[in-house]
């Protein structure tokens, strides 16, 4: 039975590992997109403009209140057809959004809402004097962001960011429901065609577990490095 997990066909091991790589790719790209959206969202919430504040507030409230699976299905269809319509209206012709781009986009949008809250909380926790001092030196806002805000915020935000990465990694499994081929989808195909449901779902679960446990190690190292300048409490 275990030779079904062999790396080469008829074994499914190779296909599963390829699926795992796709899962990691989606997760990393969506995470990056989420951080960008999170920074923008946090900026909008703290920037002082009322319109931007409410825009960001609506975004985070709605996304965080609706079940992820529903959001993913909704955004997957609405998002890809909407962007395709937009692009063709702009004269780019008939553009097809790839499943990969859609999966990254959808998970990134969901992730961005949670990132906004984590980053906002961390920025609020930076002592105000630090930012005022930077302003007093005449640093422009982008330089201030790069030199002061991000380095001071990261150690505070890191536990939250690590948590969100784990949630995202597990949420990638949801895009298998809209028919996108990643780890769980491959596992489903393997299980369906061999009728070895237990074996393959166990194997898929084990691969996810390795990825999450591995991420824990990476984040622990990152936290140690980022906290080296933070005095122990």
């Amino acid at each position: 039975m275990l030779d079904l997990l062999a790396l080469h066909p008829p074994g499914w091991g190779g296909a599963l590992l390829k699926g795992a790589v796709v899962t990691l790719e989606i997760a990393v790209l969506a995470y990056a997109a989420g951080i960008v959206l999170g920074l923008l969202g946090a900026g909008a919430k703290l920037g002082g403009s009322r319109a931007l504040f409410w825009l960001a507030e609506t975004y985070t409230t709605l996304i965080r209140a609706v079940p992820e699976l529903l959001l993913i299905i909704l955004l997957f269809y609405a998002g890809s057809s909407g962007i395709a319509a937009l692009l063709s209206a702009l004269g780019f012709g008939d553009v097809r959004i790839s499943g990969f781009a859609a999966a990254v986009g959808v998970l990134g949008v969901v992730q961005g809402a949670y990132q906004t809250e984590v980053i906002r909380g961390a920025i609020v926790a930076i002592p105000r004097g630090q930012i005022e001092a930077a302003r007093a030196y005449g640093m422009p806002s982008l330089l201030r962001l790069r030199r002061i805000v991000v380095p001071m915020m990261l150690p505070i935000a890191l536990p939250g960011l690590a948590n969100l990465w784990l949630i995202l990694l597990k949420d990638t499994a949801l895009v298998s429901v809209v028919g996108f081929s990643e780890l769980l989808y491959v596992g489903k195909q393997a299980a369906g065609s061999t009728k070895e449901y237990f074996l393959f779902y166990m194997a898929v679960g084990a691969i996810y577990l390795v990825m999450t446990l591995g991420s824990n190690v990476v984040f622990r190292l990152a936290e140690r490095r980022l906290r080296r300048s933070v005095p122990a409490v």
Binding site: P67, L70, G187, F198, G205, L209, T212
Partner: protein, 229 residues
């Protein structure tokens, strides 16, 4: 926005609404009951039970819920279907229905996440209160029932409220294993009316409303519990 299909499919949506609530109720209740021993096992000085509980928690929290749902529904379901004794038993009508598999999967998941929360709660109960109870001559079980557990729940109530909403938000996964909950109802409507957005948006609004209701219920519970502050 075209809602002409709504009257025809309203009964289906109502059915799905109740099924979603039942999923939350059963998985929330059973998961919480299972979380208590899991948390207790990890408060002690270690030993085999603590290791097992920690392994369980790590595994469940480290894998996607959807994989767990599939593992239980397809894996266990396949095993049951192949066992004639189970097929002929009175349990089979239940074991054929996706609903109880979904409840089982969500229960296990809730137990792992809430076990972790409760573990913190158990450890946060001031030692003096437990010592006082012991000094009054209460047995270990009586201490747990009267002091330790109620105090741990009181401390973790806000976190448990968040878990309840997370549970609600994960119930749509049941629709992937043929359970007709709110999400399942929306899928049927989508397939039969060819309308993609309206059913999904309507159902999303219902989920938001249920989440708000859960938040209110927990707020009331929090206010009911007398607190020293």
């Amino acid at each position: 926005m075209d809602l002409a299909w709504l009257p025809k499919y309203l009964p289906l949506l109502v059915e799905g609404f109740w099924r979603t609530l039942l999923l939350v109720f059963w998985a929330g209740l059973l998961g919480f009951l299972l979380a208590i021993p899991i948390a207790l096992a990890q408060t002690g000085r270690g030993g085999i039970l603590a290791m097992l509980s920690r392994g369980f928690t790590t595994t469940i929290r480290g894998t996607p819920l959807l994989v767990q749902v599939y593992l239980i529904y397809y894996g266990l379901g396949d095993l049951f279907a192949q066992t004639p004794e189970i097929r002929q038993s009175f349990l089979w009508p239940y074991l054929r229905d996706g609903f109880w598999y979904a409840v089982a999967a969500f229960t296990i998941s809730v137990a792992a996440y809430e076990g972790e929360i409760l573990r913190g709660g158990f450890l946060a109960v001031p030692r003096g209160e437990l010592e006082a109870a012991r000094a009054c001559g209460m047995s270990r079980f009586l201490i747990l029932r009267r002091i330790w557990l109620p105090r741990a729940i009181q401390i973790t109530l806000p976190a448990l409220s968040g878990e309840a909403i997370l549970l609600l938000k994960s119930t749509p996964l049941a629709a992937t294993i043929t359970v007709i909950d709110l999400m399942g109802a929306a899928n049927i409507i989508r397939a039969q009316t060819f309308r993609v957005y309206e059913p999904l948006i309507l159902v999303a609004a219902i989920y938001i409303a249920i989440a708000a209701a859960i938040a209110v219920v927990f707020r009331l519970l929090e206010n009911r519990v007398p607190s020293p502050r």
